[in-house]
């Protein structure tokens, strides 16, 4: 799709940007180009400098060093010229929530100087394109995440821009809307528009024509995604056969020399090996007896982790220190029986039933607003069900809420720690509210500090911690009282892949010790770690099974090996068709 003649729409020359003199630069001498007719992925975890770079391209910020040229104009001196020719969708889409869809469009049409006579045609086209025609009178604040995003895009496209800047367009948007959006943007590039798509999701990077990979303000890679993936070509393997043992297999594999990185993928384990004379031989050695190992297609994330010097080891000091929980009784630790929640006429969750036995990871997967958060909240006691009941460790949440809550640990999406309290104070607080005795409080806090290496940061306010440490602290606070059940709400969104691996090796280790985990996510990677998944759509559980079962359910002759995301999209579509029929 790349046309060699495409001119550079943006030229970045050694761009540096600092916020405050003490902090490391948000962008450190980044150079690169954005071309027309392509989607350029601006890829990196939170805090990598993606938003800063986009803002520099809009001319809303000036670089401290280097230069940014957009469409041939300098952003410092000719920002006004740039503003006339670009489309920009900031995070959270830049919509006025008190205005309706049509009013938002009209406003941006006026601001961008779209001539009146052209409007009916343009609006019609954009509304058809974004499938928002039915909702023109609805307030933007009442739209779903995916619809908001489409409207934001429509507003940015009102006068066909030459360059379209999208800042994290897929955050808070489910895979289906994400695919729709991607298809729309791809169409735009056919007319020669240059698109910048920033994302923390590494699987999106793979689909981009070109990527700029950022990490902590530094440009790690610029070029075709395939070129990056190529660096791990022949080194990626899938290790299968350790049925029911995948967590242990992964932990053991990661401890071996020659293994750079590894993750759980359904029943199998995906490994990236270090470069060796004979990778196949190495693979065979690592696999050992009783396992099948086969090369598999490398992915962007494999290459990224390799580029960063490999993932962490597989040992979890946290899990090693944990007391094993008895596994005898076979009674479920977390149980949902006909959970239903209605808000007025709207049924947010409808008759949801499942049981999670001890030592399993159970995932709630679903588009935004489908009811997975509602279900999750009912199970940890944040919402009272309209009917049905939730049980944790055998206690009914309605009648023995406090007892049930004593047995569970909770970690929320945004790592809701007390930002103004220091690391040590946060630990002390959570130890206190869980009523740990003085001696145990000291022991456990000490242990957490050691395991998560929080020692050097004890006096820092939690809000000033880097994202990775925040996540560690949140986990430390959630497991301080050795809960039987862990509730994780999108626990690794936006976190860099190394921290994510570290996190999952702790969780995997704890699960092996008998801890039960309920996780909500729309990160397909995280879904792979689950033993079983319930796919929630429109308030109902539309599919329940292990990741491999769900994938197998949608496998076709054309696509024999669907990804988790493919399975998700197909199952949701299937459920829609069933509802329509």
């Amino acid at each position: 799709m790349t046309t060699p003649a495409a001119p550079d729409l943006v030229r970045l020359e050694a761009v540096t940007k600092r916020f405050g003199t003490a902090a490391p630069p948000a962008l450190d001498a980044v150079s690169g180009q954005i071309r027309g007719g392509e989607i350029t992925g601006l890829v990196g975890p939170d805090g990598a400098g993606k938003t800063t770079l986009i803002r520099l391209m809009t001319g809303l910020m000036r670089p401290d060093g280097g230069s940014v040229q957009v469409l041939g104009f300098d952003t410092g001196r000719q920002a006004a010229r740039i503003h006339g020719a670009i489309g920009y969708m900031p995070q959270r889409f830049g919509l006025y929530e008190d205005l309706s869809v049509a009013e938002n469009l009209t406003l941006y049409a006026d601001l961008r100087g779209l001539p009146k006579p052209d409007r009916p045609a343009v609006f019609d086209q954009l509304l058809t394109f974004t499938d928002l025609k039915r909702f023109t009178a609805r307030l933007a604040g009442r739209l779903s995440g995916g619809m908001k995003q489409k409207l934001g895009l429509a507003c940015a496209l009102l006068r066909k821009p030459r360059l379209l800047l999208l800042d994290e367009p897929s955050v808070g948007v489910d895979p289906i809307s994400r695919r729709d959006l991607w298809a729309m943007v791809e169409e735009l590039t056919r007319d020669g528009i240059g698109v910048v798509w920033s994302t923390a999701y590494l699987d999106e990077a793979e689909a981009c024509d070109r990527v700029l990979l950022l990490n902590q303000g530094k440009l790690l890679f610029a070029g075709l995604p395939a070129d990056l993936t190529a660096r791990v070509a022949g080194r990626v393997f899938k290790l299968a056969g350790g049925s029911g043992q995948r967590r242990r297999v992964l932990a053991a594999a990661l401890e071996q020399d020659g293994v750079v990185d590894g993750v759980v993928q359904g029943e199998a384990v995906r490994l990236v090996l270090a470069p060796a004379e004979d990778e196949a031989a190495l693979a065979g050695r690592i696999a050992g007896e009783g396992h099948r190992i086969a090369p598999t297609e490398p992915r962007f994330e494999d290459a990224f982790v390799d580029l960063l010097g490999g993932g962490p080891g597989g040992r979890s000091a946290l899990a090693e220190s944990a007391t094993p929980l008895p596994t005898d009784d076979g009674a479920p630790v977390i149980e949902a029986r006909g959970l239903t929640k209605r808000f007025g006429d709207f049924t947010a969750a409808d008759d949801i039933t499942f049981a999670i036995p001890r030592g399993q990871i159970f995932g709630l997967l679903g588009p935004n607003g489908a009811g997975k958060s509602t279900t999750f909240k009912m199970l940890c006691g944040l919402l009272k069900p309209t009917s049905g009941e939730g049980r944790v460790a055998g206690f009914d949440l309605r009648h023995a809420g406090a007892k049930a809550r004593n047995r569970l640990g909770y970690m929320a999406q945004k790592f809701s720690l007390y930002g103004d309290l220091s690391v040590a104070q946060n630990l002390a607080f959570f130890a206190g509210v869980y009523g740990l005795s003085r001696r145990r409080r000291r022991e456990r806090s000490q242990l957490m500090v050691e395991i998560f290496d929080l020692g050097p940061h004890l006096g820092m306010s939690a809000k000033d911690l880097p994202l990775g440490l925040k996540q560690r602290l949140a986990l430390a606070c959630a497991v301080l009282h050795e809960p039987e059940a862990l509730f994780l709400d999108e626990p690794t969104s936006g976190v860099d892949p190394i921290t994510r691996r570290e996190f999952w090796s702790h969780i995997n280790g704890l699960v092996e010790k008998g801890v039960t985990v309920l996780v909500t996510t729309h990160f397909m990677d995280e879904a792979e770690y689950c033993d079983r998944i319930s796919l929630i759509y429109r308030g109902r559980s539309v599919a329940l099974g292990s990741p491999d079962e769900l994938k197998a359910a949608v496998a076709t002759a054309d696509a024999p090996d669907p990804t988790m995301e493919d399975a998700f999209v197909a199952l949701v579509r299937r459920s829609e068709e069933a509802a329509a029929a």
Binding site: K377, A402, N406, Y410, L417, L421, G432, V433
Partner: protein, 369 residues
């Protein structure tokens, strides 16, 4: 075990407020501003006023009167105008709050023993200050009149001897600074309580509390005690400032003052909890607190006496906790109010506290559904 949990909650709450720069701002800046501005600027005293004089008298008495006015400490400048037009313009433009017009016959009338007359024109746009100025001017004229009048054995020299109790020099700050003790406690109690839950909601930590084994009433107690402590600190600082900076006498019992303050703070914190139960963001909490605070301050006797309000409005002040605590504060500072009277004002405070805390916790439980 509940004690451990509660202690953890309270420590957390205090740390969260004191370590947050915004929280410190809310706690320190407004109270200091109030202390400075209210105690110095909020005075209904009238001093340093400017007056105009139109003297059409050629004799000595006119000059003497002007001289005496000029010499009085209340008046800053006494400007002379030459025509009634200038006088009118001066009052219109508010160059002066009052104008004294002395007629051409003034000295002659006095010399002849006839009743003389001066006219005082006052700016009714500031009728409160104008009335006070009128009082000052009348007294100056009266004194002069007594001196010039030939002794008349038939006219007794009727004297009114004023005596001011509790505050002999009628120092306005003796009134205002004790007021501030009560007002600040309200401001701090409302804002700290109102914001603390809204902040936790915004940050998502409230869910974190809800999934911990804390029971609802423990969370509520954990939210009530820290503002009580902070409110008590503020009260103490203001009492110290009143006594040692402003020299307000403290005649009553501090024990009674603190005792009743507990119920006052509880009542106010109950309102704060109520506001925070209804607001989702800190900004809403601030507006809600403001919406309660302004009427509470104005209908309490702090700005102007409750007696001056229309009859139908006065019953509304009965549900205002500030009203009762103001009486206690004045009573303890200036009057050495007897304990049974303090109790009589404390009982309504306790009732209001029960009502506000009860409603707030009911709302809470309901919102958690």
């Amino acid at each position: 075990m509940w004690r451990t949990r509660l202690r953890a909650l309270i420590v957390k709450e205090l740390l969260a407020i004191l370590r947050d720069p915004r929280g410190r701002l809310v706690l320190i800046l407004p109270p200091i501003m109030q202390l400075v501005v209210f105690s110095f600027a909020a005075t209904l005293d009238v001093t340093n006023v400017d007056v105009l004089v139109l003297n059409r008298d050629a004799g000595r008495w006119g000059v003497e009167l002007i001289h005496r006015i000029d010499g009085a400490p209340t008046f800053a400048t006494v400007a002379t105008v030459d025509s009634p037009e200038d006088l009118q313009a001066g009052i219109d433009r508010q160059d002066a709050i009052a104008a004294i017009q002395i007629g051409p016959e003034f000295s002659r009338d006095i010399a002849a023993g006839r009743p003389a007359e001066v006219q005082v024109i006052l700016d009714g746009r500031r009728s409160n200050a104008a009335q006070i100025v009128a009082g000052y001017l009348s007294r100056i004229v009266d004194t002069l009149a007594r001196e010039v009048a030939p002794a008349n054995p038939n006219i007794p020299d009727l004297q009114v001897v004023p005596r001011t109790w509790f505050n002999p020099n009628r120092i306005y700050q003796w009134f205002m600074v004790p007021n501030l003790v009560a007002a600040i406690a309200m401001l701090v109690g409302l804002v700290v309580t109102g914001l603390s839950i809204a902040r936790e909601r915004e940050l998502g930590t409230f869910d974190q509390l809800m999934v911990s084994p804390l029971r609802t009433h423990e969370i509520l107690i954990g939210k009530v005690i820290p503002p009580m402590m902070i409110g008590t600190v503020h009260i103490t600082v203001y009492i110290l400032a009143a006594v040692f900076v402003f020299g307000v006498p403290l005649r009553g019992s501090l024990v009674l003052l603190y005792g009743s303050a507990i119920f006052y703070l509880l009542a106010v914190i109950g309102v704060g909890l109520f506001v925070s139960a209804l607001s989702a963001t800190q900004q809403q909490a601030i507006l809600g607190a403001f919406l309660f605070m302004v009427p509470a301050m104005l209908l309490s006797g702090l700005a102007t006496p409750i007696d001056n309000m229309p009859q139908w409005l006065q019953p509304i002040t009965l549900i205002n906790p500030l009203r009762y605590f103001l009486e206690i504060v004045w009573g303890v500072f200036l009057k050495d109010l007897p304990p049974e009277e303090i109790l009589a004002d404390t009982i309504p405070l306790a009732l209001i506290a029960v009502a506000t805390l009860g409603t707030a916790s009911w709302l809470f439980r309901r919102r958690m559904e």
